[in-house]
């Protein structure tokens, strides 16, 4: 964990509201694990005040990638970054996905910009595990396929693939997967994660989710990012330090 200033190589629009930013950092490309994140200072001034957390989307050679949706002021500023601009970030943060357990097939479930951490996860798992990916979005233009493999898609409006949400798609395909040999990795909005959790915990499926929440520091000093533990013991977990990836059995979403 350190502060880095790394140059932007490219920053391009890859979907209606989504950018892919490639930055040069041999050190972070080597050090970061899928599911970890960076806390990025989006401007040179003191405004906006807080850093913005983004998952590492991919790492290849000396470069790392971020995939982000333009949401408010911070991501708007980030979308303006150009080749050569320096990005000030704190990284690596968080725990990352647990990838080495005993399973044959990794099932990746992505809702909207929840796809962001999966290209890197795909790259790392490729070769050692079979990968099945389900990608959901509100409509065809919002389905983010960048860097993903062996995927099926779901859209709320039926404009592409399965009509419905991505968890329903996963459920509809579930019989084709052997539940004992799979591990589910999910990232997306909380209602989606809740549905994944319900489905998987009922069936005892090994499942990790990457959680988002408001953060100030991103490295454990502000206590701003608590998440309720499943086991009630008078304390919270911190999303930034104990997460952002949690086993669904450990937390209440």
């Amino acid at each position: 964990m350190n502060i880095f200033k790394i140059p932007v190589l490219t920053n391009s629009k890859i979907a209606e509201n989504t950018f892919l930013m490639k930055c040069h950092s041999p050190e972070l490309a080597a050090d970061m694990k899928p599911g970890q994140f960076c806390n990025i200072k989006v401007s040179e001034s003191d405004y906006p005040l807080l850093r913005r957390p983004f998952s590492i989307c991919d790492a290849e050679g000396n470069n790392i990638y971020f995939m982000f949706d333009v949401h408010g002021e911070g991501t708007r500023l980030l979308s303006r970054k150009k080749q050569g601009d320096l990005i000030d970030l704190i990284a690596p943060l968080g725990n990352g996905f647990g990838i080495d357990d005993d399973y044959d097939t990794a099932v990746l479930i992505a809702g909207g910009i929840g796809a962001a951490p999966f290209p890197y996860l795909t790259r790392i798992l490729k070769g050692s595990k079979k990968i099945v990916t389900y990608i959901g979005g509100r409509s065809s233009e919002l389905v983010l396929k960048y860097g993903l493999e062996n995927f099926s898609t779901a859209t709320d409006d039926g404009s592409e693939g399965f009509q419905g949400n991505v968890v329903q798609l996963f459920e509809s395909k579930f019989e084709m997967l052997k539940s004992s040999d799979i591990k589910v990795f999910a990232c997306g909005p909380n209602p989606m994660l809740r549905a994944v959790k319900n489905f998987c915990s009922e069936r005892g499926i090994n499942c990790e989710v990457s959680v988002e929440c408001a953060m100030a520091c991103g490295f454990g000093i502000c206590q701003g990012c608590p998440i309720e533990k499943s086991e009630v013991d008078g304390s919270y977990l911190l999303v930034c330090k104990d997460g952002p990836v949690f086993n669904i059995n450990d937390i209440v979403i």
Binding site: A214, F219, I221, C222, G224
Partner: protein
């Protein structure tokens, strides 16, 4: 390089006037990966209470224009566990450690101070009478001048270590509180804690912070904090520790000019965890540029005609 950056707060000697504010660096653990804590004037621990506190449920923080609201709810492990698990780390920090105490009764403050007084690594106490996010205590104490007087006197009675009273800005006469703290035997006052604020989601019509209100910190509050420090400086002869929205060395110097003997960095640690070092260097350079040999010369050096 010959500037003397050391300052004194009562019997407490600090190598420089830059401290890390309570609740914004935990117990120094994580931030020590970014900087050498032995270079910092002092580190103030997250508020400790007698019993452990789970803190408030999420959402606890939200960004506002040039500021943030927090309602952490004084989440902490309680004094017993603090002594067991945090003190050992603090002993290795090689920085001056001030322990911040929060409580919901006078007795609880006294009890905490009594227990912690035995810990050698703790060089002083900062008494948080002003946390706006804890319902039963906090705000009420912070705005009740008699309570502040009683707390100061009772804590003073159980420890010989420096006692600093951290004042609430949510009052119209902060200098009266500072005077009361002084009369109660406090060695210094810290000003300010956060301002009470809120923020709502216009679609759900719910508060963005579960606790409804939170404490406003960051650059947005700097002008208010400076005015409070100046008011105390003009009215009461007691060392002041200036806090509120400091982002860089210029802000720190501004507080010192307005009367602060030392400063504390809060929110900035979240954004720039090496800020303290940069600010110490900046103050040092400023002193050289202004040809002052001791940083104390800039304290309360305001020119008001």
């Amino acid at each position: 390089m010959s500037t003397d950056l050391s300052i004194e707060i009562g019997s407490l000697k600090l190598k420089n006037p830059v401290m890390l504010a309570s609740g914004t660096v935990g117990y120094g653990n994580e931030i020590s990966t970014f900087m050498d804590l032995s270079r910092i004037g002092a580190i103030v621990t997250k508020s400790v209470s007698l019993k452990p506190r789970k803190g408030n449920p999420p959402q606890r923080i939200v960004e506002t224009p040039s500021g943030m609201l927090n309602a952490i709810g004084l989440a902490n492990v309680g004094v017993e566990e603090f002594v067991k698990s945090k003190i050992p780390f603090l002993e290795k920090v090689h920085s001056t450690v001030i322990c911040n105490i929060a409580a919901s009764s006078v007795e609880e403050y006294v009890e905490c101070a009594r227990i912690l007084d035995y810990e050698e690594v703790i060089k002083g106490f900062e008494i948080n009478v002003s946390c706006p996010n804890v319902k039963e205590g906090g705000l009420i104490f912070g705005n009740d001048i008699n309570a502040v007087g009683r707390i100061t006197e009772k804590v003073r009675a159980v420890t010989d270590k420096p006692v600093i009273i951290k004042l609430s800005p949510n009052t119209s006469n902060i200098s009266e509180f500072a005077k009361t703290a002084k009369e109660g035997g406090a060695d210094a006052v810290s000003a300010i804690n956060t301002l009470v604020g809120t923020s709502f989601d216009i679609y759900t019509r719910k508060p963005k912070i579960k606790n409804v209100t939170g404490g406003l910190s960051g650059p947005a509050i700097k002008p208010v904090a400076l005015a409070k420090v100046l008011e105390i400086s003009r009215c009461v002869d007691i060392p002041i520790i200036g806090i509120g929205g400091i982002m860089n060395w210029k802000d720190a110097v501004e507080f010192m000019i307005c009367g602060a003997m030392a400063v504390q960095l809060g929110t900035v640690n979240f954004i720039n965890p090496t800020a303290a070092i940069e600010i110490i260097e900046g103050i040092n350079n400023y002193c050289k540029e202004m040809s002052v040999s001791s940083v104390k010369e800039i304290v309360a050096s305001y020119h008001i005609q």
